[in-house]
C-alpha cells in the first residue's frame, strides 16, 4: 500500500469544520474512527483536524481544513505536495473543563466598538465542539470581528487533544488586534546588541516597570520617568539599541525623524507632530509603546539661536507634547543625538528627558564583545580570534566593525568565486578589510596621515635612542597596569631634538608602525587659520579624536614653529596654541561627553578591582595619549612645556657616527647595482656636511645639560 498521500486543497464545504478527508485505507492504517482528532505535521506547521472519510472514498489523497494550526498566520499552501502517512498521528480525545485563549480582533476600532460580552459569546461559539491543543491558533473565517484565537492553556492538560464541550468554561486572557499580532511576529530576526548592557538594562527598566508593576507605581504616587536621551558619536549603536530593547520588551516602536516632520505649509510640522503623538498614544493604550526620535538636534535646536520662527514653533510644540497640559500619554520617549549641546536646554530637564546616557566609543572589552557577536553568525576559520582583532581595531565603533566584517565576507566570497575554495573567512580576509575600512572617528579631517611603514631595522644605529623611545612610548601604551603596579607615573610626552636631517621623523614613523596605535600628526599648516580661535579649536579637536581612539600618538612636528615661548613678545596665536596644548597635556578632569566604560584590569592574584583602583585605571585610560614632538631648536621652547609631567622625556638624536653611516648604506637596498667603495669615497669628497662644528657643540652642550638634569 502506498504510504504517500497527495495533498489537495480543501473543499469549500469543509471550511470552518476542522475536518480532514482521508481515504478508508489511511484511516484504518491510523486506527482512527470518524470524528477523532489527528495531528498532521507539514513543513509549514502542524494542523489539528478531525478524521473523516472522503466522500468519494478514494485512497491516496488528503484534504485538510487549516482551522486549527500552529502557524499563527496560516497562508493557504495548496501546493500539490505529497504527505507521508507517518506524518499523521492519532490523538486521544480529552473533554476539557476549562480553556484559556487570547483573542485577536480585526482592528482597534472594532475592539473598542464590540463589548466584551459579545466577544465572549463569539469565542464560545467558535470553540464549541472543536478540538484544541495548547499554542495552536484557531482561525475564524468570514467577516466576524474575531480574526483568530490563540489557545494559551487547557485544563486538564493531558496528552491528547482537548475537546471543548458545552460544559467547558472559556476564559479570555487577553484581547489584542491583528496589527499587534502581526507586529510581534514580524520581528523574527533578533538583533543582538553587545557591549552596552548597562544602558540596555536602564532602558528596559524604563519600559517594563510601569507595565508590570502599575500598582506599585500608583502607590508611590509618582509616575515613572519616561524620557531618555542617548548621546554619543555616530555609529556607536544608539538606534540599534532602541530597536533591540523594544523587540525584547514586546513594545511597539514608533519612530520620528526630523526631516519627515517638516512640511511646506506653515503649521504642518506641528500638525505632523501632534498626529504622531496621538497615534503613539492610541497604540500605548493596548500595549507598551516606545516613541523614538532620531537626530533630535535637527528637530529641536536652541530657541533664539536663529530667528527662525517656524523652527521655534516646532520646538515649542514638542515641549508641550512631552510635558504639557494635554500630555497624558503612557509611552516611553527615547531620543538620540550626536550633539547634545545644540539641543534646547528646556528639553533636558526632568519631566522631559529625565535620563541622559552617554554611549562612548567602545573600549577593548566592548569591541571584543561586539566582534564576537558579529562573527558568531559568519563561517570563520578557527585562527580568527576576536581578541586579536579587537586589539587591532583601535578607535573603531560598532558601525565600523560591522563594515569590517562585511568587507571581510565580501573578500571571502570574491576569493571563493575565483578559486573555488570553500568560502570560509580567514584572518587574511579580515586584515584586508581592516586596511580598507578606516574608523569613522578618524575619517573627519585633521591629523590623518598615511605613510609607508618603517621597521626599526631600517634605521641604522641610534640603538640607545631606539631603546629609550620604546621604553617611553610603547610600554606605557601597552602595559599601563605594570606601571601602576610599580607606582610609576606614566610619561606623557617625548621631545626629540637634534640637528636637522637626523631621522627624528623616521624614528617616530617607526614607533607608530611598531605599536598598533592611532597616529595623528599635526603641522603648522593644519593649525594656523585666518579666523581667530580656529587654531585652538583644531588643536582641541585633534586631542579629542586622540582621546576617543586611545591608545594614540599625537606627533607635533617642528613644534618650535607652532609654539613660541611666552617670554617673547610672541604673536598672539602662538601663545594661545601653547596654552591649549598645556591644558590638554595636563588639564583638569575628563569631559563628560567623552566618557567611556572603564577597562577592568585584574591585578595579580586575581583580586577584584575596588573603587580607587577603578578610578585610577580610568585616569590611565584618559592618559593613554602620548605626545611626541620633534624640533631643531629646543632652546626656543617654553619652559612650562618641558617640565616633567608634560614633555618630560628629552631625547637627543645625534648625527650619525661612522658605524651608523655604514649600516644605513647597507640597508638602503642598493644590492641590484653593485656600488663600489670608490664611488662612495668620491661622493663623500664632493658632499659637504650640513652641520658646522659650532652647531654640533651647541647640541652637545644641550644634551649634556639634559643628561645631567
Amino acid at each position: 500500500m502506498e504510504t504517500d498521500l497527495k495533498l489537495l486543497p480543501p473543499s469549500t464545504e469543509d471550511q470552518g469544520t476542522q475536518r480532514c478527508r482521508l481515504g478508508p485505507k489511511a484511516m484504518s492504517l491510523l486506527g482512527v474512527k470518524i470524528g477523532y482528532p489527528v495531528v498532521i505535521s507539514l513543513p509549514g506547521g502542524s494542523y489539528l483536524c478531525t478524521a473523516w472519510p472522503r466522500r468519494d472514498l478514494c485512497d491516496g489523497y488528503l484534504q485538510l481544513d487549516a482551522m486549527c494550526s500552529t502557524t499563527q498566520l496560516p497562508n493557504s499552501n495548496s501546493k500539490n505536495s505529497s504527505v507521508s502517512v507517518t506524518r499523521l498521528k492519532h490523538l486521544m480525545s480529552v473533554k476539557l473543563r476549562k480553556v484559556t485563549v487570547k483573542v485577536v480582533l480585526r482592528d482597534l476600532e472594532v475592539k473598542q466598538r464590540t463589548s466584551s460580552w459579545t466577544v465572549h459569546e463569539l469565542v464560545k461559539d467558535v470553540l464549541r465542539n472543536l478540538y484544541v491543543l495548547p499554542q495552536y491558533t484557531v482561525t475564524v473565517t468570514g467577516d466576524s470581528p474575531v480574526v483568530n484565537l490563540v489557545v494559551l492553556g487547557m485544563d486538564p492538560l493531558e496528552n491528547g487533544a482537548g475537546l471543548v464541550t458545552a460544559k467547558t468554561t472559556v476564559h479570555i486572557e487577553e484581547t489584542t488586534t491583528l496589527e499587534w499580532q502581526r507586529h510581534t511576529l514580524q520581528d523574527a530576526e533578533r538583533c543582538v546588541v553587545a557591549g552596552i548592557d548597562d544602558i540596555c538594562a536602564s532602558l528596559r527598566e524604563m519600559i517594563n516597570l510601569p507595565l508590570h508593576y502599575p500598582e506599585t507605581m500608583s502607590k508611590l504616587g509618582l509616575s515613572c520617568p519616561k524620557g531618555l536621551l542617548l548621546v554619543g558619536p555616530p555609529g556607536v549603536g544608539k538606534t540599534l539599541l532602541v530597536r533591540a530593547v523594544a523587540r525584547e520588551a514586546g513594545a511597539h516602536l514608533v519612530s520620528i525623524s526630523g526631516p519627515a516632520i517638516h512640511g511646506s505649509r506653515p503649521g504642518e510640522g506641528e500638525e505632523n507632530l501632534r498626529n504622531i503623538f496621538e497615534k503613539a498614544g492610541g497604540i500605548s493604550r493596548s500595549g507598551p509603546c516606545l516613541l523614538f526620535i532620531d537626530e533630535i538636534d535637527s528637530l529641536c535646536p536652541k530657541r533664539g539661536a536663529s530667528e527662525n520662527a517656524p523652527e521655534n514653533r516646532i520646538v515649542a510644540q514638542l515641549l508641550t507634547l512631552m510635558d504639557g497640559i494635554h500630555s497624558d500619554h503612557q509611552m516611553a520617549i527615547v531620543a538620540a543625538t550626536n550633539r547634545p549641546d545644540a539641543l534646547d536646554p528646556a528639553l533636558r530637564r526632568p519631566g522631559r528627558f529625565d535620563r541622559e546616557v552617554v554611549i562612548g566609543v567602545p573600549t577593548l572589552a566592548q569591541r571584543k564583545a561586539i566582534l564576537e557577536v558579529l562573527t558568531s553568525n559568519m563561517p570563520v576559520c578557527d585562527d580568527v580570534s576576536a581578541a586579536e582583532m579587537a586589539d587591532m581595531t583601535v578607535g573603531y565603533v560598532g558601525a565600523d566593525l560591522t563594515a569590517m566584517c562585511r568587507e571581510a565576507a565580501m573578500q571571502a566570497v570574491l576569493q571563493a568565486h575565483q578559486d573555488g575554495a570553500d568560502g570560509r573567512i580567514s584572518k587574511a580576509h579580515f586584515y584586508e578589510a581592516f586596511r580598507k575600512i578606516r574608523p569613522s572617528s578618524a575619517r573627519s579631517g585633521v591629523g590623518q596621515v598615511e605613510f609607508k611603514p618603517v621597521q626599526w631595522e631600517q634605521i641604522g644605529g641610534l640603538d640607545d635612542v631606539k631603546m629609550h623611545l620604546k621604553q617611553s612610548i610603547e610600554w606605557p601604551l601597552k602595559y599601563p597596569d605594570a606601571f601602576i603596579r610599580m607606582g610609576l607615573t606614566l610619561p606623557k610626552g617625548v621631545l626629540l631634538y637634534g640637528p636637522p636631517g637626523c631621522a627624528k621623523t623616521t624614528l617616530v614613523k617607526a614607533v607608530a608602525t611598531g605599536c598598533h596605535c592611532s597616529f595623528l600628526s599635526v603641522s603648522g599648516a593644519d593649525l594656523f587659520s585666518p579666523f581667530v580661535g580656529d587654531s585652538e579649536k583644531t588643536l582641541a579637536q585633534i586631542f579629542r579624536q586622540a582621546r576617543a581612539s586611545t591608545p594614540a600618538i599625537v606627533f607635533l612636528d617642528e613644534i618650535d614653529a607652532i609654539i613660541g615661548s611666552r617670554s617673547d613678545h610672541g604673536s598672539g596665536v602662538q601663545e594661545r596654541i601653547l596654552s591649549v596644548l598645556l591644558n590638554e597635556l595636563d588639564g583638569v578632569g575628563l569631559k563628560t561627553i567623552e566618557r567611556r566604560a572603564c577597562d577592568k584590569v585584574l591585578l595579580e592574584g586575581g583580586h577584584g578591582v575596588d573603587q580607587d583602583d577603578k578610578l585610577e585605571f580610568q585616569e590611565v585610560v584618559n592618559k593613554s595619549v602620548m605626545i611626541v614632538a620633534a624640533t631643531n631648536r629646543p632652546d626656543v621652547l617654553d619652559n612650562a612645556l618641558m617640565r616633567p609631567g608634560r614633555l618630560d622625556k628629552l631625547l637627543y638624536v645625534p648625527p650619525p657616527d661612522e658605524k651608523a653611516a655604514l649600516l644605513s648604506l647597507h640597508t638602503s637596498g642598493l644590492q641590484a647595482t653593485s656600488v663600489k667603495m670608490e664611488h662612495f669615497q668620491k661622493s663623500l669628497q664632493s658632499m659637504k656636511p650640513s652641520l658646522t662644528v659650532q652647531d654640533l657643540e651647541v647640541y652637545e652642550k644641550l644634551c649634556g645639560k639634559s643628561r645631567k638634569g
Binding site: 469544520t17 478508508p24 484511516m27 484504518s28 474512527k33 470518524i34 470524528g35 473523516w52 472519510p53 466522500r55 472514498l57 459579545t118 459569546e121 463569539l122 461559539d125 464549541r128 465542539n129 458545552a166
Partner: protein, 202 residues
C-alpha cells in the same frame, strides 16, 4: 452478530434523530417567519423616531401642543420596546430549537462512539442505493447543528440594538433577510436530507 446489533441501534437512533430534526426545522422556520413582520415594524418605528428627532415643531402649526416632541418620542420608544420584547420571545424559541438539536446530535455521536468498534470502519462507510452511509449521516448532523448554532448567535447579536444607532435599526430587515439568503446552501442541504429521508427504507 454484535455488529448487526450495534449498527442496528445506531441506525435507529439516527432515524429518531432525523425525525425530531424535521420537527425542529419546522418550528425554526415558523419562528423566523413570525419574526419578519416584527423586524419590519421595528425598522419603521426607528425611522419614525429618527424623523421625530430631526423635526423642528416649533415653527409650524403644531407648536401649540405642549411637549409634543417629547411625547411622540416616548410613545415611539415604548412601541419599539414592545416589538423588541416580542422578538426576544421568538429568539427564545430559536434557542430552544438550537439546544434540542445540540442535545440530539450529541446523543447520536455518543451512541456512535460506544458502538464504533463493533461496527468497524467498513460498516460506517458502506453506502447502498437506498441509504447513505453512517459517516455521511454523521457529517450532515454535525453541519446542521453548527448551522443552527451560528444562525441563532448571529440573529441574537443583530438584535442587540441601541437607541443611538437608529440608522442600524433601519437596515435591520435587510440584514435579517440576508441571513436567510446566505444560508441558502445550508437550507438546500437540509432540504435534500429530508427529501432523502422520506424515501428511505431502513
Amino acid at each position: 452478530m454484535s455488529e448487526k446489533v450495534s449498527s442496528g441501534s445506531l441506525v435507529q437512533s439516527l432515524r429518531r434523530c432525523f425525525d425530531v430534526l424535521e420537527q425542529q426545522q419546522k418550528e425554526w422556520k415558523f419562528a423566523i417567519q413570525e419574526c419578519d413582520p416584527l423586524v419590519t415594524t421595528l425598522s419603521n418605528l426607528s425611522d419614525q423616531l429618527q424623523a421625530c428627532q430631526k423635526v423642528n415643531l416649533q415653527n409650524g402649526p403644531l407648536s401649540e401642543f405642549p411637549d409634543l416632541q417629547d411625547r411622540l418620542q416616548y410613545k415611539l420608544k415604548a412601541a419599539m420596546e414592545v416589538t423588541l420584547e416580542k422578538l426576544n420571545d421568538k429568539l427564545s424559541i430559536l434557542q430552544k430549537v438550537r439546544d434540542a438539536v445540540s442535545l440530539l446530535v450529541g446523543s447520536v455521536f455518543y451512541v456512535y462512539e460506544v458502538n464504533a468498534d463493533n461496527i468497524g470502519l467498513e460498516g460506517s462507510l458502506s453506502r447502498t442505493a437506498h441509504s447513505p452511509s453512517i459517516a455521511d449521516m454523521l457529517e450532515w448532523l454535525q453541519d446542521i447543528e453548527k448551522h443552527y448554532r451560528n444562525q441563532y448567535l448571529v440573529r441574537k447579536l443583530l438584535l442587540q440594538v441601541r437607541y443611538d444607532q437608529l440608522s442600524e435599526i433601519k437596515n435591520l430587515p435587510q440584514h435579517w433577510n440576508r441571513l436567510d439568503d446566505k444560508s441558502s446552501s445550508k437550507q438546500l442541504v437540509e432540504g435534500i436530507i429530508f427529501n432523502f429521508f422520506l424515501n428511505f427504507i431502513f
